[in-house]
């Protein structure tokens, strides 16, 4: 970050946030004050009250429209409902602004392709918000596997379980699905990035066994990669309301020479408070969102470290991960694996 400090006087990357529908927006907004040379210019949201509230909370301006905000920034972070990612990306790209889009990139491959195409046509960069790439535990796991710590990877048993987020996440018209589309993409992206391999086949068992509603909340997905590795991913919203934290990101690898496992959010205190209704976990690990937003600011400024061990996920990366989630829905319908 000292590299950035030298440029403070000349460089100011102006960032706007389009929509606070996805709660990750608050973490991204909270990261920007910690990044020298970056400014959160404002927030625009179709929910005007939310825009005002969030602008007050983060000490920035609530803009009356996406267009007005786009006129004042270099780049935007899009945190709308999933189905609006395409529309907002198109607005930003046409205004020649770089985009960091919340995951999943899109709810159809057609949308993902259109987003990638319009950003390319307008000469702007498109990134997908996969902050887990920036967590130090993941970076160590990636380095260890690449150094051959466990030999050749055979299989991966992974989870991204969570509590049901409710709200628009369980409205398929807004989210494009349930737990599978919400929680498949992070770990899929990590496995692709870690192994440099592409998914070739997807199987899934999806159910609505938790809430018994019209969306999937239990998802057991099997992904086969082009390097022969097979992985399973539990993407279920299976943490009850009484659970002591939101969820987890875990990867357990079995290799020819050993095993390696990562529990990304294991760096916790257990807090027993008589004020709260239940014990809770307080995480003291690194803020991976801050590192991702820093990388986005660097990418916009053209100062990114091309030799960094991990890089921002691109639009293509976002598409590849979303493709697995979408294939999971097709596999679940037929009860047989889907070839990508």
């Amino acid at each position: 970050m000292s590299r950035k400090n030298e440029k403070d006087k000349t460089l100011s990357v102006r960032i706007g946030i389009l929509s606070f529908a996805h709660m990750h927006a608050a973490s991204y907004a909270g990261s920007l004050p910690h990044i020298p040379g970056a400014t959160l210019v404002g927030i625009a949201d179709e929910d005007r009250d939310r825009a005002t509230r969030m602008a007050t909370q983060f000490g920035t301006t609530a803009y009356p429209s996406y267009e007005a905000l786009l006129a004042d920034v270099d780049a935007v972070v899009i945190c709308s409902e999933n189905v609006h990612h395409r529309r907002l990306t198109e607005l930003a790209a046409k205004a020649q602004k770089h985009v960091l889009c919340e995951k999943p990139l899109a709810t159809t491959l057609e949308d993902a392709d259109a987003m990638i195409a319009i950003c390319a046509e307008n000469g702007v960069k498109l990134f997908t918000a996969f902050p887990c790439r920036f967590h130090p535990a993941y970076k160590r796991l990636k380095a260890a596997t690449q150094e051959g710590a466990i030999g050749q990877i055979i299989g991966a048993n992974t989870t991204n379980q969570g509590q049901c987020p409710g709200g628009w996440f369980i409205d398929k018209k807004m989210s494009g699905g349930g737990a599978a589309i919400d929680h498949t993409v992070h770990v899929t992206d990590l496995l692709r990035d870690m192994m440099g391999a592409e998914p070739v086949e997807v199987y899934a068992e999806l159910t609505n066994g938790m809430a018994h509603s019209d969306y999937d909340d239990c998802a057991l997905i099997t992904i086969t990669f082009d390097n022969g590795v097979f992985a399973t991913l539990d993407a279920s919203w299976s943490r009850p309301k009484s659970f002591w934290t939101w969820g987890n990101v875990k990867i357990a690898l079995t290799g020819t020479e050993g095993v390696a496992s990562m529990d990304m959010f294991a760096q916790n205190h257990v807090v027993f408070s008589d004020v709260a209704e239940r014990p809770s976990l307080h995480n003291w690990g690194d803020n991976m969102d801050l590192e991702m937003i820093q990388a986005f600011v660097d990418a916009v400024a053209g100062t990114q470290d091309l030799n960094a061990p991990v890089s921002l996920a691109t639009g293509e990366d976002g598409r590849a991960a979303a493709r697995v989630a979408l294939a999971a829905y097709r596999a679940a319908e037929t009860g047989q694996p889907v070839t990508l």
């Binding site: 159910t207 057991l220 299976s238 943490r239 009850p240 095993v259």
Partner: protein
Amino acid sequence: MGFRVGIIGAGTMGQVHSRAWRRMPDIELIGVYDIDATRASRIAADSGVTAFSSFEELVNTVDIVDVCVPTPFHAEYAIFALEADKDVVCEKPMGRTLEECDRMIAAAEASGKTLMPAQVLRFFPEFQSTHDLIRKGAIGAPAVVRTHRGGGFPRGVNNWFADFAQSGGVSLDILIHDFDWLRWTLGDVERVYAKTRHTDGIHEDDYVLATLRFKSGAIAHVEGTWMDAAGYYTSIEAAGDNGLIHYDSRETAPLRVARRRHDSSSGAGIHSESPVSADPYYLELRHFVDCLTAGVAPMITPEDGRAAVAIGLAALESSRIGKSVSL
């Protein structure tokens, strides 16, 4: 009323069972048979019983036959014993093929004698307790369940576990425990999809990730391994529409002993233990005897044993053909 017991097979399980039988006052452990006479003599001497050189003779001398030989030989001995009008307890997995299981079931029916597959996991307190909690509604309706079992490769007599034609690898030999427990807890399985490192041949490295869908609508993820350098453990996580149960043997061992090493600055051998006063193998065999005495059927039926084998074979088949397999 007492029973005379004979053990067929003097390997690991034969020894474990002989210790359990000898603790029962109403049981007379008569003897042991093994195709390897030396092995039979060793366990017989340890137990103070007779090593039989003929299994026919042993079978004809006892009331209960305890089949502890490698999997593909279960049917042969179990059927011989049933036809000789003996009650039979048979190690898991019940058979290497469904055809073997069917023949055993038919022999049990024809003889009217009792045949119990030794799915001992049902007598492990942590698994029994999880089953009971779920069945009592502690988590509501079960929705998604996860289990883990495994560690390093087990070297048995003549290394038979490595021979998939005999053991069926991780899918059949060790995951049979979880398949039976899951079916006991969640009901019948509708379909199986699995990825395994191997499906046949001779291998000491096997790793399995299986997904099960139950007729109840519940789904389950089952991991099994002979490739975990970090050591053996088991775990269960069961999520339902009203809660979650979590169990991990690595977190629940109340005893841990590490001895200081003077020749090295690093890692002494650490021994951790989860002692329980009632040996699950004892409880399992005791249940069998109590059922014989009371004239009732054991909680584990021959059909249960067959159903667990069917799930394990479906996992192997799924991995071989790359498709899900419906049961």
